[in-house]
């Protein structure tokens, strides 16, 4: 479904992403792992159009989407959540998700119908799915960090995506929040049949939910394969454990 070929991007000579390759099939959950600074977030920024790649291509459902601006990428039904919380702090929880749906329904040029009457059912439905329905009228600046991360995902869902990119969905969450978030991600894949690409530092989560794993080190893909293949791969052991023979996890 998504095919990334020899993607590269450098900042002032520093090669943040250098020959990254990735391929995600429909319905899969694929994890990207790698040490800090390996270029995972940059890779996601390149796929979603926030950054333009120096070279390489991104194909989505056979269509070349390399270098499209983010709003056009989003209209191909690719949504993402961010590692650092990236929401509308002055709007309420409800409005945050609503704006996302309005945008997908192309109602954003409507100047005179009150927003409060539009797409309310669908917004409530999404909030219910992610478990934020009780906090719907709260200004998002007043939410806990965990709730904000969940709201991130809810906003991404507002775009009715086929392909969902989650950048460290559980970063900074308390253990029970993490568990809830994992359940959410699993149900999105199971119930809604979404294809999910995510990155995460917690290996337990990665090996728990991913179908396949892509390992990045210093901007390059060193291996992509099933959990078992990755677990005992020598290059991966090198990157993570400094070359011991112990398998990850």
């Amino acid at each position: 479904m998504l095919e990334v070929k020899s993607l590269s991007k450098s900042f002032d000579g520093f090669k943040a992403v250098n020959n990254a390759n990735l391929d995600v099939q429909k319905g899969e959950i694929v994890a990207v792992i790698g040490p800090n600074g390996a270029g995972k977030t940059t890779l996601f920024n390149l796929i979603t159009g926030i950054l333009r790649p120096d070279s390489g291509t991104v194909h989505f459902k056979g269509e070349n989407i390399t270098g499209l601006p983010p709003y056009k990428v989003c209209r191909k039904r690719i949504s993402r959540s961010f590692q650092v919380v990236n929401i509308f702090p002055r709007l309420t929880v409800f409005e945050n998700v609503q704006v996302s749906i309005l945008s997908r329904e192309k109602k954003t040029w409507n100047l005179f119908t009150p927003s409060s009457k539009l797409v309310t059912d669908e917004t409530s439905q999404i909030l219910e799915n992610v478990g934020l329905v009780e906090k719907r009228d709260r200004t998002t600046a007043l939410l806990s960090h965990g709730d904000r991360k969940v709201l991130e995902i809810a906003m991404a869902l507002g775009g009715d995506p086929e392909f969902l990119i989650l950048d460290e969905p559980t970063a900074g969450m308390a253990p029970e929040e993490t568990a809830r978030c994992i359940e959410l991600v699993k149900s999105l894949s199971g119930k809604l049949g979404l294809t999910i690409l995510f990155c995460e530092h917690d290996m337990e989560i990665v090996f728990g939910i991913a179908d396949r794993i892509m390992v990045m080190v210093r901007g390059a893909t060193i291996v992509q394969g099933s959990c078992d293949e990755v677990r005992c791969n020598e290059a991966v052991q090198d990157a993570y454990l400094g070359g011991s023979d112990v398998c990850l996890m």
Binding site: F88, V99, M155
Partner: protein
């Protein structure tokens, strides 16, 4: 529930305010009616700025240009053309909106402060053209004694005209802010990167917001011609833009009616304090400092906060 009753109350206040404004000419002498007209149309100007500033997060530093251009377009139509005078009141805002589109297309490539700086430069360019083009705009003399249709030529009827047009304009802007476009605009203000990632073409939405704001600034300019019968280059000078910006901050730039309140405070201060001293700006400066320190959300923002606390706290106690 609590929210809808506060909204109901706010609506009641607005209706009551409108009724009082309608009755003013019966009790107030002529000078105060003139002053009230000026407050209304300047408030409209400030509200139109706040549409892009407080709701859109765009640093429109030279908003007075559209006000001045609207006024000049109307005044020129009334003095130099044989068309129906009412057409002048329509043309003014449209020319202002058009200018807003042109300036917007150039400035929108930049964001935040850079947008503001470029806007000041372009606006000053327009000002110097108006200031120097004697044969067309009258240069620094401006345009005086603009002939008006009889029905709005007396101070009281000019006041009513201003009041009605201002009320309609505010209503339309309020509607837009509450529409999907308004929601998106506020989203862009809060977080442009995220807005783009949920499929919004940020620049295009900002451009439309700028056109709308320019249009209503033009409406305010046309109203000034009705109230004062003149148009002069100072209406496009950047100091006025700054003053309008201060009105927004003073009244509360995250509230809808805050800029109107700010306009009322500043114009009233200027009028009454300047009868005692020429240094009225000194008083304004001190006042502004106090506001920034103690009421960072402006006067109306402060009031709104108090009201909200009033109904949120009991809920938390439960």
């Amino acid at each position: 529930m609590a929210q809808s009753t506060t909204r109901g109350k706010a609506q009641l206040w607005v209706y009551a305010g409108l009724v009082i404004l309608f009755l003013l000419p019966l009790i107030l002498p002529r000078f105060y009616i003139y002053l009230a007209s000026i407050i209304l149309l300047t408030g409209l100007l400030a509200t139109s700025l706040n549409f892009v500033l407080g709701y859109g997060g765009i640093f429109q530093f030279h908003h007075a240009v559209f006000y001045g251009v609207g006024a000049y377009a109307t005044a020129l139509m009334l003095t130099r053309s044989d068309f129906s005078p009412w057409l002048g009141f329509i043309v003014g805002p449209f020319i202002a909106g058009l200018l807003s589109l042109v300036m917007g297309l150039i400035c929108i490539r930049l964001s935040k402060l850079y947008f503001g700086m470029l806007q000041i430069s372009l606006g000053s360019l327009v000002w110097i053209i108006v200031y120097r083009w004697y044969s067309f705009t009258g240069g620094d003399d401006g345009i005086h004694g603009v002939p008006l249709p009889d029905i709005i030529s007396s101070p009281n009827s000019a006041y009513y005209f201003t009041l009605i047009v201002t009320a309609i304009s505010l209503f339309v802007m309020y509607k837009i802010i509450k529409s999907p476009f308004g929601s998106v605009l506020q989203g862009i203000r809060d977080n442009p990167v995220r807005s783009e990632m949920i499929g919004i073409n940020v620049k295009r939405h900002q451009l439309l917001a700028l056109i709308i704001a320019g249009f209503f600034a033009g409406v305010a300019g046309s109203l000034f011609v009705v109230v004062d019968n003149t148009a002069f280059p100072d209406m496009l000078f950047w100091t006025l833009s700054l003053e309008v910006l201060i009105m927004c901050l003073l009244g509360g730039w995250f509230t809808f009616l805050g800029p109107m309140l700010g306009a009322a405070i500043i114009i009233a201060l200027r009028t009454f304090i300047s009868t005692y001293t020429t240094y009225w700006a000194l008083v304004l400066g001190v006042l502004m400092m106090l506001v920034i320190f103690f009421l960072p959300n402006g006067v109306l923002g402060y009031v709104e906060e108090k009201i909200k606390k009033g109904f949120i706290e009991p809920v938390i106690k439960e």
